[in-house]
Symmetry: C2
DNA sequence: GAGATCTCTGGACACTTGTCAAGATTTTCT
DNA sequence: AGAAAATCTTGACAAGTGTCCAGAGATCTC
């Protein structure tokens, strides 16, 4: 490789890095705006106002609005899916796993409520606009696998066989979380504690004998 | 009451009737448009184009866009909630109820997929816009009660006590249906049959001993 | 049938939207 | 330092938005 080639490579890589970095930065502002206003009410100018730049720059880094939002979904995915894996690997008992899971659900509902609201909004949008579908389905599959890891590990630690499949387990806890999110964002004071209790009550339903939570 | 009063009353009642009837008609066009395009992409002119009138008439019957859509949600509610009650009252065995329920889920997923897509879209919108919240929450509560009637009747017919509460039962089947809707609308060929099988598998989870579906 | 009232049309308005491009500014390289 | 390239700003554009209104048409009352 000649010196010229090295330079070109170095330059282009640096450019790519800065380019990619700024894309992430702008996507961050976009995600914040989307999570505050929702997809239907988010404009490019509003996104730019939540960043350090003016609205024109968005078309320098993204071809159009759809590419920006697709990029946002993809970036959001990388932050979101891995969040529970520490719980799975660190738990030593079924009860410990159950409580760690319930605690994590409550924590993310309290701290990231707006992000989850955005996720359900985007998943609904994907039913109308084909552009996001691929990424949304991929993200959804990742979430399902995350739930499945928890449920199967919980069954392992319990020594009991499973009564549900992966889609059923995901449907249960996704529905439960969505229920809690709706209540939490509409001011229900017991939404967080209810979610905790219900997660603990529903996790044993995935096993053949729910002896873990003898009430 | 004088004859003049009677006349006034008759006239105004007739006006109210025609007025209310036209509101329903326009709301019908609005629901159709919303279910096709989604909330974010539906404009008043598009709604009018799906009706027999021009766009100006919408502001004759509705104060603004929010009132129109709120009215749509309320009208949609009356059509939607009562749909499963016949199944509950006509079933004589737990298994019959379970199959009737699963069949109904599949049927409405196949026939009314766009309406359900609209419902999940509106429920997401309610998390952002406070205007629809009251009606959406009311509709959601109605759906939860509908599920609860099925689950409790199923427990009665089975002679087994319940393991879940009403929110948990609703979360389970709402999550299950949403999962199926996403797959069905994105072209998954087994979405319908999967929903049927999973509903039959999950209903026994609401009881203390899932002996009804010995697989 | 005349007049009053209800209903509807079509156009106008102020505003926002996504997109684009010309030019200013900054950064990078020699 | 000075040229070249990358980056950012600003303003403009056409299209679409919700809203309003003057007036045409329809319907009803007397």
């Amino acid at each position: 490789m000649t010196r010229a080639d090295e330079r070109v490579d170095r330059v282009s890589r640096r450019q790519v890095d800065k380019f990619a970095e700024r894309r992430r930065e702008l996507a961050e502002a976009a995600i914040q705006t989307l999570s505050e206003l929702g997809y239907a009410r988010t404009s490019l100018r509003e996104i730019a106002q939540n960043s350090a730049f003016s609205h024109g720059v968005l078309h320098y880094y993204f071809a159009d609005k759809i590419e920006l939002i697709t990029y946002c979904v993809r970036q959001y995915k990388t932050q979101c899916v891995l969040r529970y894996d520490e719980i799975v690997t660190s738990a030593r008992t079924a009860d410990g796993l159950a409580h760690g899971f319930a605690d994590a659900l409550v924590a993310t509902l309290r701290e990231d409520a707006y992000l989850h609201r955005l996720w359900y909004d985007m998943r609904s949008q994907a039913l109308f606009e084909e552009s996001f579908r691929a990424d949304v389905l991929e993200l959804d599959a990742g979430l399902e696998q995350m739930i499945w890891r928890i449920v199967t590990r919980h069954a392992e630690l319990s020594g009991a066989p499973l009564t549900v499949t992966s889609p059923e387990a995901y449907a249960m806890f996704d529905g439960l979380f969505q229920y809690a999110l709706l209540r939490h964002l509409t001011g229900a004071p017991t939404a967080l504690t209810d979610l905790h209790a219900r997660a603990l009550r529903m996790l044993p339903l995935t096993l053949c004998r729910p002896e873990g939570s003898a009430s």
